[in-house]
């Protein structure tokens, strides 16, 4: 077709194009590979990872396990994986009239070492394929975390494309599966309940919500930073989130309590609002609460010669949230307000140092300090980065300076 005239070429090319089109179209029609209707998928809303030999004491639990098991060529039975699956209730045509208020879920579980293998094997228990794009939370039991560290547990979830990166990570000291089986009073599916309650960290500094999800955890592990995972506990039918579990290079280090968490929130400037309670200046034993609204926090690393120290300047603005100091004390007069401000500042400072020392005790850097140093003093960082966690960080000093201003005192004196 080299020596064809123009028009002829036009025709020829059209023909060829048509040919290509037909071929492709037929090729397409031959298989709509990935078409899978929405209602044909099982919404996995939450995942729980336990140690294989956790729980399961009673008889039927035992043989249940034996069924959820499968012959595994190599590796041992380490983990017990459970999925919380949404139960679809068909909405009848007449609309919300017969829609049920609560969305119910059920739990499927299997045992093995590789998450992926378990996943595939659990397909033997369900009638539709799992679908992970809407996972909300991953609950890890302390046992599982201690066993192999964090990485084996979450690897699948950040390797697979189906997973969304906003999955919330949680850790519990009890059995994680129980938390999946827990039905929230609000009637919303358990996974979403957990995820949403974690979203509230902005208001509740007792939760390390600023590292809520898989993405941050992955980042932290990649940067060899400390991973902080919120802790969730289930007492018979109350789920409470509070406190933090610390992972250092994937190894479980320990929990820190709410107070320390709050302190962390302060010095990593990640809280939006907080309640700081102090004792009344003149009535000991009575409580007065300061509601933090805005703050600017500045953590700076200083290197003077060999030794490294940090200064933390915090300016807080807020209201007088609650004062149980009785009528006679007058929140109007400035002296009083001044005093309160000082006390609050003191309190915050104490809180920060408390948290900081806990971290130093655990020889775990919450992340901010190393990052600051790396960012602002790269040379110093180069010098110390090998033995930062064990040698340098524990005897780095932190000098907080807090400045509180109370903007208004609420609607009543």
């Amino acid at each position: 077709m080299v020596f064809l005239g123009n028009s002829a070429i036009g025709k020829r090319s059209k023909v060829c194009l048509g040919g290509i089109l037909i071929i492709t179209i037929s090729l397409f029609i031959s298989g709509c590979w990935d078409q899978k209707e929405l209602q044909e998928r099982l919404f996995v809303l939450a995942v729980a990872i336990d140690k294989a030999d956790e729980g399961g004491d009673s008889k039927e639990e035992k043989d249940k396990k034996s069924i959820e098991n499968f012959v595994q060529p190599n590796g041992k039975k380490l983990y017990h994986l459970s999925y919380q699956i949404l139960q679809l209730t068909p909405a009848s045509g007449s609309g919300e009239g017969s829609r049920k208020a609560s969305i119910s879920t059920y739990v499927i579980s299997g045992t093995g070492e590789s998450m992926f293998e378990m996943l595939r094997d659990m397909l033997g228990q369900v009638s539709k394929g799992f679908w992970f794009e809407h996972i909300q939370a991953i609950v890890i039991s302390e046992g599982a975390a201690k066993q192999g560290g964090l990485q084996p547990l979450i690897d699948l979830f950040h390797r697979d494309t189906e997973m969304r990166w906003l999955i919330k990570l949680l850790i519990t000291s009890g059995e994680a599966k129980k938390i999946l089986e827990f039905k929230p009073p609000s009637g919303e599916p358990g996974g979403m309940f957990l995820a949403r309650s974690l979203r509230l960290y902005k208001k509740n500094p007792h939760v390390p919500g600023w590292i809520p999800g898989l993405e941050e955890a992955t980042q932290a592990t990649d940067n060899k930073k400390t991973v902080q995972i919120s802790r969730v506990e289930l007492v018979e039918n109350i789920v409470k989130i509070g406190g933090t579990a610390l992972f250092k290079e994937g190894k479980f280090v320990g929990y820190i309590d709410e107070y320390a968490t709050k302190g962390t929130a302060f010095f990593s400037a990640s809280e939006k609002s907080a309640i700081i309670t102090i004792e009344c200046p003149d009535h000991p034993g009575k409580i007065l609460a300061f509601e933090l609204l805005r703050h600017e926090t500045k953590l700076t690393a200083h290197v003077s010669g060999e030794d490294i120290y940090y200064t933390l300047d915090i300016g807080m603005k807020g209201n007088l949230g609650e004062s149980q100091c009785g009528i006679q004390h007058d929140a109007m007069d400035d002296a009083m307000v001044q005093k309160i401000e000082l006390l609050v500042a003191e309190e915050v400072k104490r809180n920060i140092l408390y948290a900081f020392h806990i971290y130093q005790g655990l020889q775990v850097d919450p992340g901010d300090f190393a990052a600051k140093l790396r960012a602002h003093q790269p040379l110093a960082w180069e010098r110390v980065k090998e033995h930062w966690d064990e040698a340098i960080f524990p005897n780095v000093s932190l000098l907080p300076s807090v400045n509180v201003t109370i903007e208004n005192i609420g609607s009543h004196n």
Binding site: P73, I85, F116, R120, L123, Q125, Q151, D155
Partner: protein
């Protein structure tokens, strides 16, 4: 002609040994013994979309020898006539299979015109009736749920479910080949499909575990997608998972001066599905490491296949689904002519040489 709503949808059938006979659920029988206990799972018709009651189905059962007779007798227990055109599953307990051939049991179903040939057949070691009494957590009717489980065999390498419904089973009967049926087990509130029951002709031999089934699927190339786990080469004690999504498998018989042997050439493409253990040590972004993994995976797959081969050759002495026989018949017809009558003895002695080649396409979302 009868209206739809006047029929009883039979969704699942369970066949057990007639152990204890409730005198209501039976009938006087001139000849034969009370051999089977047949239970039918029947759909409750609920109007519209509301899911008031917990279960959607109820069970009727009866004992006798002729299944047809029992079914007819069961009309005595129903207000509406039974309707078999929507049967989804037949669950058979191996207690029955121990002494009766599969074909005798399935005879009624293959004879009756109402039966659809896509009925799934499962084998269980426990009571079959309890399995069809199971009501699934997702509020589907039990029979449908059970039938749909096997649809996922493409992804679940532990289930051999490619051609195991009534139609194919009967087809296997007709050309006297061996049969493989998926195995289903139940413990309270959990039903699981894994492994498979092996039949020689129609005689029940035993169960093959998941690992053997996986090996078999690899060997015959019946899997669409599978996961292969190995111990991570760099960080022992942790696992690396290979997710297979495309493969081509060629099982070819060879005859050299009277000696029959099979070769199995497998090429597999897939992703790294999961990599436990420290990612800084095993760096999936450098090609050499991928090479190592590929070799390791190939080894593992080979091992699986040989395991399955051992199970079927040594332990059971069954040519699974007579695939080897058919291969030989189609490729080397005249050899087949010579060996076909002593094939069953011959088969366990025939060697199989496997060569696997794995290529990793993707490493996933994260290193």
């Amino acid at each position: 002609m009868r209206e739809l709503q006047d029929r009883n949808f039979v969704l699942a059938v369970a066949i057990d040994k007639a152990d204890e006979v409730k005198e209501v659920e039976t009938f006087f029988q001139p000849n034969g013994t009370k051999r089977y206990r047949v239970s039918l799972q029947i759909l409750k018709l609920a109007s519209g979309g509301e899911q008031k009651e917990e279960t959607k189905t109820f069970i009727k059962s009866n004992t006798g020898e002729s299944i047809f007779e029992m079914v007819r007798d069961m009309l005595g227990q129903n207000s509406k006539s039974l309707w078999f055109e929507h049967i989804q599953v037949i669950v058979i307990s191996d207690a029955v299979l121990k002494d009766v051939g599969l074909s005798e049991i399935l005879d009624f179903f293959k004879r009756d015109a109402e039966m659809r040939s896509r009925i799934k057949i499962y084998v269980t070691s426990g009571k079959a009736q309890s399995i069809i009494e199971f009501n699934p957590p997702s509020k589907e009717p039990g029979g449908v749920y059970l039938a749909n489980i096997i649809r996922l065999h493409l992804k679940n390498v532990h289930v051999a479910g490619s051609r195991t419904d009534l139609g194919y089973t009967i087809q296997y009967f007709d050309n006297k080949s061996n049969i493989l049926l998926p195995r289903i087990e139940m413990a309270d509130k959990v039903v699981k499909l894994s492994g498979s029951a092996v039949f020689k002709k129609d005689k029940f031999i035993g169960y093959a575990d998941e690992y053997a089934v996986a090996g078999l699927k690899f060997m015959l190339g019946t899997e669409k997608s599978a996961v292969v786990t190995i111990d991570s080469p760099k960080t022992p004690g942790y696992q690396v998972v290979f997710e297979l999504f495309r493969h081509d498998t060629k099982l070819t018989p060879h005859v050299e001066n009277g000696v029959i042997y099979y070769t199995d050439d497998i090429t597999m493409y897939g992703n790294i599905g999961e990599l436990q253990g420290d990612t800084s040590l095993n760096d999936t972004l450098d090609p050499e490491y991928l090479r190592i993994l590929e070799v390791a995976f190939a080894e593992e797959i080979k091992r699986t296949i040989y395991y399955a081969d051992k199970v079927f050759k040594k332990d059971m002495k069954v040519d699974p689904v007579s695939r080897f026989a058919t291969k030989l018949k189609s490729h080397e017809p005249n050899t087949w002519e010579q060996v076909k009558d002593q094939w069953d003895e011959l088969y366990p002695t025939i060697p199989l040489y496997v060569s696997v080649n794995v290529s990793i396409r993707n490493i996933g979302n994260h290193k």
